[in-house]
Symmetry: C2
Subunit: 345 residues, 2 copies
């Protein structure tokens, strides 16, 4: 199937911890002037202008990823994206990461080289420096803990708590594809379990599978907003699903929200695959998660600046807190949003 087939097998113990770190990180070049000292001392040394942004995520095998269908290179890439996305959600620029991993003895040097090839590609594509980390053994499985560092000018930083009633709710890209990609991969895994000679049928789901296996953090949006001279009033990234993130914005900004079902952007593969899987595409978009798109609010006076931009979709507007957080359905029904989708499902 898609599992990483490792031909050569060098045990990790043959290098020792420091030899292993050297081996895995010596191809990483420093790309940012703000990195004064990267890997190799007790701590990295940075010279960050403006304000410093810090975020961290921990990914656990069997909880966050399944190596049966997640190639290690893709996993490395995605683990970096998950963290950078949080820096962009502050309207900042990601500049450095640390990467700590714990691995059981079933992983070989060649497997870790694949993982770090993905981390390396992500660093290169997003102009981020690997500046440190920790490598240790694990009693079971693979664990990846990444911390991302970024910077932003004080006046640019966008928190979750700045949304006002009447602000427009905007989302980037489209939603639900990463979750459906996971469903497709899980189905193929089941088929493979029954018949190991079967070949995966993924041609019709390429976009979905790519969104699950190789998401991209929306660095481009930060530049687009700057060029449009739009500063969001509040922003968050979509890791847990649209519903959950809207509720965070509303809670922290002390406002309500009307979200319009017919405005939620869906790719054609999401619509057709939802039909095939007999799933509701709105539920998938609201609860799916892992899209790593940005969700933000803007002042209504900024409407003209963003309208017609193919990267941005207005999906609702903020309201007074006592109006609640609602999904307005295609049938013009108003339903209370919950973190799992909606209340009355």
């Amino acid at each position: 199937m898609l599992a990483y087939k490792n031909q050569s097998k060098t045990p990790l113990s043959s290098l020792g911890e420091f030899g292993l770190i050297d081996h895995l990180t010596n191809t990483f070049a420093i790309q940012n002037k703000s990195t004064l000292k990267g890997v190799g001392d007790d701590a990295a040394v940075l010279q960050l202008k403006n304000k410093t942004l810090i975020t961290t995520d921990l990914l656990v095998e069997g909880v966050h990823f399944d190596l049966t269908y997640m190639p290690l290179k893709h996993l490395g890439y995605k683990a970096v994206m998950v963290n950078l996305s949080d820096i962009y959600a502050m309207n900042g620029n990601a500049t450095q990461i640390t990467v700590s991993i714990a691995v059981s003895n079933r992983f070989t040097l060649e497997a870790l080289e694949e993982l770090y090839a993905g981390i390396h590609l992500a660093c290169k594509n997003y102009k981020v420096d690997l500046i440190g980390g920790d490598t240790t053994s694990s009693t079971t499985g693979l664990w990846i803990s990444i911390t991302a560092i970024g910077e932003a000018k004080t006046e640019d930083i966008t928190y979750r708590n700045g949304a006002k009633p009447n602000d427009l709710l905007v989302v980037t890209g489209d939603l639900g594809a990463a979750y459906l990609g996971l469903q497709v991969l899980e189905r193929e895994k089941q088929v493979f379990a029954v018949n190991p000679k079967s070949q995966p049928e993924l041609d019709r789901y390429t976009y979905l599978v790519e969104r699950q296996l190789k998401p991209e953090a929306r660095k481009d949006i930060i530049k687009i907003l700057k060029n449009l001279k739009v500063k969001p009033t509040a922003m968050i990234d979509i890791s847990d699903g649209l519903s959950s993130e809207i509720l965070h914005l509303c809670k922290q900004s002390n406002v309500g929200c009307d979200l319009y079902e017919d405005k939620i952007p869906l790719d054609q593969q999401v619509i057709s695959t939802c039909e095939e899987f007999n799933m509701n595409s709105t539920t998938v978009a609201l609860s799916g998660g892992e899209d790593y798109e940005l969700l933000f609010t803007i002042s209504p006076s900024d409407f003209d600046k963003i309208k017609g931009n193919p990267n941005l979709t207005i999906i609702g507007h903020m309201t007074a807190k006592n109006a609640g957080v609602s999904l307005v359905t295609r049938a013009n029904q108003r339903i209370e949003l919950t973190a799992q989708g909606w209340q009355s499902i």
Copy 2:
């Protein structure tokens, strides 16, 4: 025995991820002006003067700690110390940490409260702010990933690579006690396994056990050095044992070293317990690790400033690289140092 006995049992699932983070972190007060935004957004926001220092460590149950004799509160405290020690080893001031944990469902809310009580105490004692993290489920055991952030003036930062021939090699505190503490606890664990009614005999080993279970990072030394107007030419913290750290300094500074066996500072409990356990106290100091003392080099012209200071012991001097890295024994023999202790053991 010493295992954490949990009476009340609230399952973690009863709070949800965001409720759990809120519950565990709401008692943490912000103590540093440089922390503009801590827990609660996509990323924390810091305003760091001077240069930024970043370090990270990953601790794994069954690899780095054993909850049979490590109380969770102590574990939380120690996990923070391990990271702060790396910031002090750069001659910097630690200001913030992030804490990510993964826990299996055998851990209750009350268990995590104990862990965070230790983290809280460490933050309070060392004036460090908890600014973020991640909480997730684990397939097995407990995992703690901490990143520490600090700051230092450019002219104060001390790397591993600045030692010169004739510089004096200095160590803080005393060595080997943490490793022997672990041996004592392991022995009591074996006794308990055979006879669960036995009471641990730890009275004679209080210093050793405390050094293992509740180490302190040497923040005080950074202040002492500043007051003495001594800037080390190179510095590292002792996490893996004196030998390994000396070899790091020598390799990165491109120098050799003569280490004098009779100068290595040992507590009386280390000496008496080594006799009881029939171990060589020099081997224990060289290879034991987990002492979290600082090891540094100073210019010979600074000798007068540090001599007689009870916190600091001169244990050797640096040499030309081609002279090698040697232990000079009490019998005045010269033996090549290796990461595991010495070559000819």
